[in-house]
């Protein structure tokens, strides 16, 4: 599978059902029949509003949440139901970085402890060699070792902490990074640096699942885009096609709501078309409208 140069991570009909209610008597379908792939050296952004299931998908890929239906395969191996030992090996290939860099660190330890802890994965590596590895990883995320090693988390900025977490993931020589809203807590003047970093890592062959609610960030960095609504994919494909020619009413509404710097919101918001959409389309089929551009069938008929 890998030889083809495509597919590294592959989701096939993945669903997640939560038990909710006082005694877990009700069911909430957070993710419904989601299928997409991530290839090496590709940034795929998963875009949706709150409650769209985008973070749940990230957690399932990371094995932090059980898959209810469907399978997730990584390099041809089913990783949706891994047990402890195999899961550990999986984490040598796949790592996650989350939204809040400040709460990812234990405030009573120095920040570089996150790097030291990783050393447990490499029992055979000597001290010298390890230091070189650390330096290379810090260099890759454009952090100055002198400025961040030996510091406590509160002494570093959010951008530095977030980059340190990416460096930790790189130390493991991972193939896929799940980046869940890693930009949203950062300030405008530093967020673009973290975003550019993802772009540079992509050039080194890293696959990135970039989870965000911000369309302009997703559009800037990703090769392919998956738009989620209420746990289902409504539109997916090459980023230029999804944003250049959004076909599903929901995608259109999202694109038209994004505040832009040089154009004002147009007066007619296509919200009505979204309101007219069914709550959930159990038989949602994705139709290929042009090469590498899939749209949920319900949306297309709506337009016709």
């Amino acid at each position: 599978m890998l030889e083809g140069g495509r597919l590294m991570l592959s989701l096939d009909g993945v669903s997640k059902v939560y038990k909710v209610g006082t005694f877990g008597g009700k069911r909430l379908r957070a993710v419904h029949g989601v299928s997409f792939d991530v290839a090496p050296g590709e940034v795929v952004s998963l875009i949706g509003e709150s409650g769209s299931g985008k973070s749940t998908i990230g957690r399932m890929v990371l094995g932090l949440s059980r898959v209810t239906e469907g399978t997730i395969t990584f390099d041809g191996q089913d990783v949706s139901r891994l047990e402890k030992r195999r899961l550990r090996a999986y984490y040598g290939d796949v790592q996650g970085v989350f939204q809040d860099p400040f709460s990812s660190y234990n405030p009573i330890f120095k920040a570089d402890r996150v790097l030291t802890l990783v050393k447990g994965f490499f029992p055979g590596v000597g001290r010298r060699e390890w230091d070189d590895k650390v330096e290379a990883a810090l260099h890759a995320v454009r952090l100055d070792p002198g400025a961040c090693l030996g510091k406590y988390p509160h002494q570093l900025s959010g951008g530095q902490l977030q980059r340190l977490l990416v460096a930790r993931a790189l130390l493991l020589d991972i193939k896929l990074l799940v980046a869940d809203e890693i930009i949203s807590m950062l300030d405008a003047s530093t967020r673009i640096d973290v975003l550019n970093l993802l772009g540079d890592l992509k050039a080194r062959g890293l696959g990135v699942l970039f989870i965000t609610h911000d369309l302009s960030l997703g559009n800037y960095i990703s090769d392919r885009t998956v738009i989620l609504r209420r746990g289902e994919i409504v539109e997916a494909g090459a980023t230029t096609k999804v944003f250049g020619n959004p076909l599903h009413p929901y995608t259109r509404m999202l694109v038209s709501s994004v505040p832009q710097l040089h154009t004002k919101w147009d007066s007619a918001a296509p919200k009505a078309a979204v309101a007219a959409l069914p709550e959930s389309d159990a038989a949602a089929r994705l139709v290929e409208v042009e090469p590498d551009h899939l749209v949920a069938a319900a949306g297309i008929e709506e337009r016709a």
């Binding site: 673009i192 975003l195 550019n196 302009s216 800037y220 999202l254 832009q260």
Partner: protein, 317 residues
């Protein structure tokens, strides 16, 4: 002029000294103006907003005065400010999702709020219901507990309650930050509508998101490290900013249509100085590509063209 702020300086007291969060802010807001207040976290924008309505115990008013509709606001006097709060100056807080008391029905919260200001609930109720309907909520919201409302509904409820007595100045602090793009747009448009209908005379909208401000604000004031950097009409701030900080900030924002492969945007190297002991002179000096010897002196916040003020030696020259 609706609001006139002159040399307002507010510090936070801390064990290690004063944190100079707002330092010598001087600006004015016209009647009907929506002013966006933008900047990075820790630049003092929220402190400036808060000092116009209620300073918390750590905040200390050092100097400067604030005038609203020709009347001085006693911002340093917590008790005297009570006469102005809600009636003349009101706020939609950053935490408005959790601003409603969870154990009280929304109607009870509204009644108590009005009665605490000596207004009869009965007289205001028809207007309250009318405005709730205007923002797409039905009157039975008043009979519900906050937990029964969604985040967006709570946000709209708080917006209606805050502006019920038609204040002259409304401070909206990061009210769009926690929302999805479609709700962001709805809330942004609602703010403009409140102004257009005369529910509030003028407004300060505090956010780190310049793109939102470009959509709704008439003017934008950019702060950096406790100082005012630039104020101008929204079009000018986005299209022809003069302060190097504003220029770099605008150019670092990705827009729909800008892609990494084609255009690589750059951030601003470095980080803002600590406000415990900020450097003398221009506070942006260390990160500024245009810095020169003169920047050791503090640049004044001066008008470079009508309605456009900048604190930078290069821009003013």
């Amino acid at each position: 002029m609706s609001l006139r702020v002159d040399d307002l300086t507010v510090y936070y007291r801390s064990l290690r000294g004063d944190v100079k969060a707002v330092d010598g802010a001087t600006f004015a807001i016209r009647d009907g103006e929506i002013m966006g207040l933008a900047g990075e976290s820790g630049c003092g924008k929220s402190s400036l907003g808060k000092s116009l309505i209620r300073m918390d115990a750590r905040m200390k008013h050092m100097r400067g005065r604030v005038e609203l509709d020709g009347e001085e606001l006693p911002i340093a006097d917590d008790a005297k400010m009570n006469a102005f709060r809600f009636r003349k100056v009101s706020i939609v807080p950053q935490y408005s999702m959790s601003a409603l008391t969870p154990t009280r029905k929304v109607g009870t919260v509204a009644r108590e709020l009005l009665e605490s200001r000596g207004e009869g609930f009965g007289e205001v109720q028809p207007e309250l219901v009318r405005r709730l309907e205007l923002v797409g909520l039905s009157a039975d919201v008043l009979d519900r507990y906050p937990i029964e409302l969604s985040g967006g509904m709570k946000q709209r409820t708080v917006m209606v309650l805050s502006t019920l007595l038609d204040p002259s100045l409304l401070i909206a602090d990061e009210i769009t930050s926690a929302l999805d793009v479609s709700s962001q747009r709805a809330v942004g448009e609602l703010l403009v509508e409140f102004r257009d209908r005369g529910f509030v005379k003028s407004m300060i909208v505090i956010t780190h998101d310049l793109a939102i401000l470009y959509q709704i604000a008439d003017t934008i004031l950019v702060m950096y490290a406790g100082k005012l950097a630039e104020k101008a009409p929204a079009e000018t701030i986005v299209g022809a900013p003069r302060h190097p900080y504003t220029q770099l900030l605008i150019s670092s924002l990705p827009e729909v249509g800008v892609r990494f492969e084609e255009t690589r945007l750059a951030g601003i190297p470095g980080k803002p100085p600590s406000l415990l002991s900020p450097p003398t002179g221009c506070r942006f000096r260390d990160r500024c590509p245009l810095a020169f010897a003169k920047c050791e002196e503090e640049p004044p916040f001066v008008e470079v063209e009508p309605g456009h003020e900048v604190a930078c030696w290069k821009a003013a020259a």
